[in-house]
């Protein structure tokens, strides 16, 4: 029997018409996927990995056109095919799942019916038994109580469940190829693992081929047979997993592998080629004299019995209005009685999944929010006695600063980089002279490796990494004793993340700051922090040194968290299963 690869792409090129001219999104991309094979396409943002998938399935945006090459599904030509033919193929022969699963489901249609729509369209079921088949699919994707969940709407389901529904829809008609476009982005780490395991199991069962598109090299290594690395529209390397991680050929691949933190990597490993920034003297600052050696052994920060409750908003009351509300249900304990301390010069990692209370804790410590009860003692002074609303005008404000997660959201779109960095200087220091402030801003820019020419630009004219540097420069401008880093690199590409982490480490040593590093990624936290606190549902689950917690987790929750991190060790892979 003639053995066509299930998917074959030959020299495919795609162009987009934009306001600034034509952009070449794909440049002579070739790949092939065999029957039952799992191929990963890995790249950072802008690499063209999603565009490849959209072009092949014919879902490309109106502004995009395939200008060369071709794509074949099992010998049938896809490029230039009629839309009605493609419609027949989609869903029945190949299907796709996307990121942001809740947004990708029809919000006003029960999820069971959305599965039915696909079954009926491709004549995989008759009207009488289509509902049973839909419920069966829900069961296959491990949704509890499928008959009841048939009637659920997407907004009633969690992100992970919505993704399972999407998988159910995609697999309902038993296609032979599944294209998964960043299927786990935005999901919790443990949910990510569960979702990927589900996909792996179901596709193996049915001997389906899978194309997994992701930016996470570790995930690709864990689930794929072969990996293709893309950069700015081109495939720079393609190799089986083992080979790629033991002997990466292309410098970009090497850079990506180095930049993805594993349980053994060190900071220096992450970006071995990055040049040291220009020599800026952090000690000659008019704002604050050079930090003296820590005189006492008293902790810099002490958090004692911190509690934060939010009144619960009864969105969908299942009960009758006149029944008295259960007092336990009335309030939501986001932070449930936690205590920890931070020594001077120490870095503490605060790790947990979304909803565990780590962001609330960091907001309270930074005095952006008031606690319901408990104390925060900073540098010997109880700062919780000052209300959050008034803290901005107190001199203690300079002692703690924060770096935020989303670099775009954390910069005022109307302020140039200069204005953003100068803001704390203007308001919190005695510097009134414009030239003094400008000089200080330039010194800060040098310190964080931001080219001075970019200071006059607005946020939308800067790249993600440049915006992150502006945020960091602003945070260290008043030479705080302590910096809270709230997932500072999770929105950045992995190669940019590497450089930013090295920068943060260097600044910590040069300026003598202490860090609280909030993140969901244990590997990243390990690089910068000596100690780690693991939180779940508002409580501290486990503490210890970073290495200890990562290698020898004691609590079951921590174990599950560590297990869920996809990591790759070239030696382990080379040694075989």
């Amino acid at each position: 029997m003639a053995d066509h690869p299930i998917l074959k792409v030959d020299d495919l090129s795609v162009e987009f018409r934009t306001r600034h001219g034509t952009v070449r999104a794909l440049d002579r991309v070739s790949l092939s996927v065999g029957k039952g094979e799992v191929v990963g396409i890995v790249g950072e943002s802008g690499s063209g990995k999603s565009v490849t998938a959209y072009t092949v399935t014919g879902l490309l945006d109106r502004a995009g056109r395939a200008v060369g090459g071709s794509a074949f599904y099992d010998g049938m030509e896809l490029t230039g095919a009629k839309e009605s033919d493609l419609r027949d193929l989609r869903g029945r022969e190949f299907s796709m799942i996307f990121q942001n699963p809740r947004a990708a489901l029809n919000p006003i249609r029960p999820v069971g019916k959305q599965i039915e729509d696909v079954l009926l369209r491709h004549a995989q079921a008759a009207r009488q038994d289509v509902r049973a088949k839909a419920i069966d699919m829900l069961d296959k994707v491990r949704i509890v109580d499928p008959a009841h969940r048939y009637w659920s709407y997407p907004f009633e389901l969690s992100g992970g469940m919505c993704q399972r529904v999407m998988i159910a829809i995609a697999l309902a008609c038993d296609p032979r190829l599944l294209i998964a476009d960043e299927p786990t982005t935005g999901l919790d780490v443990t949910t990510q693992k569960a979702t990927m395991d589900l996909i792996a199991e179901l596709t193996r069962e049915r001997q389906m081929s899978v194309v997994l598109i992701t930016h996470d090299l570790g995930m690709a290594a864990a689930y794929c047979d072969r990996i293709l690395v893309m950069q700015t529209g081109e495939i720079v390397e393609a190799a089986p997993v083992r080979e790629m991680f033991t002997r990466p050929a292309h410098p970009y691949t090497q850079k990506l592998i180095a930049a993805s933190p594993g349980p053994d990597s060190s900071l220096a490993d992450l970006a071995p080629d990055s040049p040291p920034p220009p020599n800026a003297s952090p000690n000659a600052s008019p704002v604050r004299p050079a930090p003296a050696a820590p005189p006492s052994t008293a902790p810099l920060l002490e958090v004692i019995d911190l509690v934060k409750t939010f009144p619960r908003r009864d969105g969908r009351s299942a009960g009758w209005p006149w029944k008295k509300a259960d007092p336990e249900e009335a309030a939501f304990r986001a932070v449930d009685d936690i205590s920890f301390s931070l020594a001077r010069g120490e870095s503490l990692g605060l790790v947990g999944e979304s909803g565990c209370g780590k962001s609330t804790t960091s907001s309270i410590v930074a005095r952006l929010m008031d606690a319901t009860s408990g104390d925060v003692i900073l540098d010997g002074e109880n700062i919780t006695t000052h209300a959050a609303a008034r803290f901005a005008r107190l001199p203690q404000r300079t002692k703690i600063q924060m770096v935020f997660q989303d670099p775009t959201d954390s910069l005022d779109p109307r302020y140039s980089a200069q204005d953003s960095i100068a803001q704390p200087l203007r308001r919190l220091t005695g510097l009134g002279d414009r030239r003094q402030i400008a000089a200080e801003v330039e010194a800060l820019a040098d310190m964080v490796g931001l080219p001075r020419a970019l200071l006059t630009r607005l946020p939308h004219q800067l790249s993600g990494g440049q915006k992150a540097r502006v945020g960091i420069a602003r945070a260290i401008a008043v030479r705080p004793l302590m910096l809270i880093l709230d997932e500072p690199t999770s929105a950045l590409d992995v190669s940019v993340q590497a450089v930013v982490l090295q920068l943060l480490d260097r600044l910590k040593r040069e300026l003598g700051m202490s860090y609280i590093f909030v993140s969901h990624d244990l590997n990243v936290v390990r690089l910068l922090c000596e100690r780690v606190i693991v939180m779940n549902k508002g409580r501290i689950v486990e503490t210890g040194t970073a290495d200890d917690v990562l290698r020898h987790p004691k609590e079951p929750y921590t174990k599950a968290l560590v297990d869920a991190i996809p990591h790759f060790e070239p030696d382990r892979i080379a040694a075989g299963p």
Binding site: A392, M402, D406, D409, R414, L458, Q461
Partner: protein, 281 residues
Amino acid sequence: MTRFWHHFRYVMGENPVTVVAFGLFGLIVVLALFGPWLAPYDPLATDAARTLAPPSWDHPFGTDQLGRDVLSRVIVATRLDLGIALSAVLLSFALGSALGCAAGFWGGWTDRIVGRLSDTIMAFPLFVLAMGIVAAMGNTVENIIYATAIINLPFYARVSRVETGVRRNAGYVHAARLSGSSDVRILATQLFPNILPPMMVQMSLNMGWAILNAAGLSFIGLGVRPPAAEWGIMVAEGATYIVSGEWWLALFPGAALMIAVFCFNLMGDGLRDLVDPLRRT
């Protein structure tokens, strides 16, 4: 300042429609400011001998039932209509956005009260409410301005409340607090300028609507009294002559109305582009 001029030229160059809209706006402003000197005849001067004369070289827009030159009246009316609309819009913009921003930023009781007020006004069909207000307060031009301002209040309150609410928890707001800015300072100097782009569109659309509103009220006899020259009144006076074929009394003021409103509707997008930092390259 030169930066703004560059940006202005860029926005104009982007979209020819914006140029047309701003050009028309310029014309309207000129007529409003210099109308009385530009008008060929005295808008109030009657001429019993030349009543209901169709358009001619002498009177490009014809004359009305009292022999007054329609062109002059249309030109002079620009000032009155524009003045009423502008005053009303500025008034409701100032009050509405202050209320809406406070409601969106602080929530709680402020939000509830502003929401109630806004909802109560919106519970009325707005033109009808304006009729009721003018009837109650007295039939003067000032009251037309107040009535129009009141019925436009909910639009500004709602837009500013929503836009402020969206940005209230943005990273840069927290960063501003960390930088030592008080809440009021953040609201006034950072949040408010950032919500201006969508407000600009709202203001521009409102201008058009305020003009239609004022003209509508005059059409049914409220506000402006004869012999004042105002587009709505002119159409009302011309209405009785339409059925007998003297179309020019109503057409020209009506067309002027249409063009003015059209211009403001088109300007909305251009104004937003001018104010929006994301459009700058």
